[in-house]
């Protein structure tokens, strides 16, 4: 049983058995994993507060041949992001980040890109007054890394550049259409939102200006991205409804 040491971000942690915790996390060295933290609910000796959701930690764990779950041995807090949970809406947004990471990142496939994205997003939440910019950034990049980002700048039917015109989109078509080609029931995606997509794919999160970012635009883009995710992953997001209700 080799002991692995890795930076990790805790995604979810819940009671398991009598006094253990079942922890789902993204490790830098081994990708997304799930493991058991023995006695973590009874004693803080080995894990302390370093298994709370969305904590950035240094983790030691044993991989067990042929077993799905690893065995956590120790955890040290590097930075806790649960301070960011000052209000309920923020905690919903952070929960959605964890849900998307669990859903979209394949188990046992290390990806430094995915790890850095998640960490940058959490840091983005920490500094930000508005939760919508870091949330949309994570949604967009998750879709991009999953390879599901639809073409949004040219019409998927006639090929015309959308320019300053709004685009129209539905998941089953997988592309944006122009006004002339649009079909009933398609979502509108304004030119401003499409410019934001380009900007987000070009610049790191701290370079994006939150002033240029309003709630309505985030909702428009977020709805489209979550549609894409739910369609491809064939999974209804638990946090989506809660966040929509709250918005």
């Amino acid at each position: 049983m080799p002991l692995v040491e890795s930076e990790a971000i805790i995604l979810r942690s819940r009671a398991w058995g009598e006094a253990d915790k079942l922890v789902s996390f993204l490790s830098r060295a081994r990708g997304r994993l799930r493991g058991i933290a023995p006695s973590a609910r009874r004693s803080r000796r080995r894990f302390g507060a370093a298994l709370e959701p969305l904590s950035h930690v240094r983790l030691w764990f044993f991989e067990r041949e042929g077993r799905e779950l690893v065995r956590l041995s120790q955890s040290e807090l590097i930075e806790g992001f649960w301070d960011a949970r000052g209000d309920y809406q923020r905690s919903l947004a952070l929960s959605q980040v964890a849900e998307l990471a669990e859903l979209l990142l394949p188990e046992r496939e290390p990806s430094d890109k995915a790890f850095r994205l998640l960490l940058a997003t959490l840091e983005g939440f920490k500094g930000a007054e508005s939760i919508w910019l870091p949330l949309a950034y994570f949604q967009l990049w998750s879709v991009r890394l999953a390879g599901w980002l639809p073409g949004l700048q040219e019409c998927g039917r006639c090929g015309k550049s959308l320019g300053d015109e709004p685009g129209y989109f539905s998941v089953d078509r997988g592309r944006a259409f122009c006004r002339g080609c649009r079909l009933p029931g398609m979502r509108t995606l304004g030119a401003a939102s499409r410019r934001t997509v380009v900007e987000m794919l070009e610049k790191p999160l701290p370079k994006l200006s939150p002033e240029a970012w309003d709630r309505r635009r985030a909702a428009e883009l977020g709805a489209l991205l979550l549609d894409v995710i739910e369609y491809h992953a064939e999974h209804k997001l638990t946090t989506r409804e809660l966040l929509d209700e709250k918005a």
Partner: protein, 219 residues
């Protein structure tokens, strides 16, 4: 190993659904039960069923009880000026063990857990707010169950103590509640450290919990 006979396998499967039971411990318990005299096993099964059938939740605080209201809501001697908010009915047992708290309780029935789909509507939050709002002069006496300490003049709730676990979910739930309760003019406090961050009430000993109660801080 040969497969278990169907009735034992079924029993093991049921036992495995209990918290803390895996295949091994469930099998051990199943064989233990089967070695006992039939009347002992019947008494156990009867006790489980009787408890399940007679227990309900208190109409005021959602604690478990076999009557309309629980022992705390009925008791004459409890201090109706304080309500201690806990996640689950079993947490009340732990707070009571400190013998340090004389107020009333409110059981949330869980914590806000967006990933599990648990939002405010799934928790006993409205009934808590109702308890705090109903205490004005306008609350008609007839609608208030005659419940020792709750309701009634001179027993206005002055403090809500949030005793959810000091975990991310417990904190998020406490902050959410504080935001709703404070505007009602009620003091809101949270159990102090002493319970380790990331720890759980269930595993805090009485002394630790007593310190946590004594040192509770304003939210």
């Amino acid at each position: 190993m040969k497969e278990l006979p169907e009735p034992i396998a079924r029993l093991v499967d049921e036992l495995k659904r209990l918290p803390g039971f895996g295949q091994k411990s469930a099998t051990r318990l199943a064989f233990h039960l089967l070695r006992q005299p039939a009347e002992d096993v019947e008494r156990l099964a009867e006790a489980i069923l009787a408890a399940k059938r007679s227990l309900r939740t208190c109409s005021i605080c959602h604690n478990l009880t076999d009557q309309e209201t629980c022992e705390f809501c009925r008791a004459e001697g409890r201090n109706g000026k304080q309500i201690c908010v806990v996640e689950a009915a079993q947490d009340i047992v732990n707070v009571e063990k400190t013998r340090h708290y004389q107020g009333l309780y409110h059981v949330l029935g869980g914590l806000l857990a967006p990933l599990e789909g648990v939002g405010p509507e799934q928790l006993n939050i409205q009934s808590l707010l109702k308890r705090l709002c109903a205490q004005g002069a306008s609350a008609p006496e007839a609608h208030q169950p005659r419940a020792g300490a709750s309701g009634g003049e001179g027993n206005r709730v002055e403090e809500v103590i949030l005793a959810t676990n000091p975990t991310a979910e417990g904190d998020a739930t406490a902050l959410y509640l504080a935001k709703l309760v404070k505007p009602l003019g009620v003091r809101v406090t949270r159990l102090a450290m002493g319970i380790p961050l990331g720890g759980e009430l269930e595993y805090a000993d009485s002394v630790t919990l007593q310190h946590a109660l004594d040192g509770r801080r304003e939210l």
